[in-house]
Amino acid sequence: MADLRARLSGVSKVFGDGADAVHALGPVDLDLEAGEFIAVVGPSGCGKTTLLETIAGLTSPSGGHVTFEGAPVAGRVPRGIGVVFQEDASFPWLNVWDNIAFGLRREAIEAAEIRARVDYAISFMGLSAFARAYPAQLSGGMRQRVCIARTLVMRPRLILLDEPFGALDQQTRLLMGDELLRLWRETGATVFLITHAIDEAVMLADRVGVMSARPGRFIELIETGWPASRSSANVADAAFGRLTGHVWSRLRAEAMKALGRDSDIQAGA
């Protein structure tokens, strides 16, 4: 189907085997529509990262299958998928410009084209003053912008983000959220965002998926109904409070389940 960017059918993931097996995820069914912005929230340990890595092809599912633009995803990351990770993934030995250009250099793209795309990405992400700087000289937020720019420059049709703003303070997060929305509108890509921050999910996404505690499955997919022109200003909207409350009411029990399990583990189970 041309309108579908990616589809997950019955995807599950089990780590280990026998008595030590950990049922981390699933089964999960999800359709990602072209151009939509979907956010996934869930308690810690519910398998959100596993879900993202399965879509990306970084992990193979134990059960079910994943397709991207109709073709099965197996073993390798398909072209057209970009990933932004939670940890700082900038290359410390390259400056900002070379970092962003990294993926392009491998393709058979002309130097002029590379320069154009990288320069554009740099100005789009507000990194112009730092093009020759090294990641070690930048703050965490800037480094994440470099990683986003590096992804952006490859013109992905599906962008997966795994808690990209997790290490940042609240205000920076809100601003970065606006940046992400700008990026989404500009590229028309499908965006799949994992976050533990409910307000972030509700503020940014067309749909919010609420996951259960491990093994993670979707409890509910909530439509937010925001217009495409939304921004961090909609935290003032009445609907924002209502939606956030709704998400939390579904999530709370699961979060407590996850917490209970965590304290079991710490007690030495």
Partner: protein, 259 residues
Amino acid sequence: MSGPAARAPAEGRRLTDVALLALGLVAAWQALYATVGDVAITPPLATLINAGGLLGSPIFWRHAEATADAFAVSLVIAAVGGVAAGVGLGFHRFSGLVAEPILTALYTLPKVTLYPVVLMLFGLGIEAKIAFGVMHGIIPVILITLNAVRNIDPVHLKTARALNLTAFETATRVLAPAVTPEIFTGLRIGFSLTLLGVIIGEMFASQRGLGFLLMNGINTHDVRTMMAVILLIVVFAVAAGTLLLAADRRLHRGARELR
């Protein structure tokens, strides 16, 4: 992926791997012998027998004792002196900063080339050998101790003060346990290097000791004795090294659990 149940076969596999490696080395040794012949080396079994023979020979033991005496004294001096100097330099920040690069530079010197000076200062007896051993072993002990003391987490000192401990109590019950694992690592390295220093010293300028036996072996083309001595030295070094390493690991693990 791994739990207690999975560990037993993995250990077993590791032991078989070790056994295979040992067999491989012995086979390579035998093959080398087949290539270069009696003039160069002795094969594994023969070397083992010769080594056994040496262990039964009083002449060998006289030499071994000479090495052991020098080694023991060097070790004590390097250990005590090294730790003392390291502690001092670690606590007195300025001296430590001044001394560290100098010591590091001395560490990269081929100290062997300074042996003639030592001989001139100490004569040709056991004192020179002890000096050789200390020269080699004391520097890593100082450097590692210095770093261990310098990097004591300030939290420990604050905790001691909060608990109103005396200086002595702080030193013995808080600081000493904090630095002991690292100092032990330094001593472990110092052990090996002191042994090396004493043996090389004997190779260069002595009529007694295991190092002398090695050089004598090559001068008189007595390959059998030479190889047997090498085998014994290596076995001793590996055995002592392994024991020290196990103790080192135990100490570090203990420290980690405390934290």
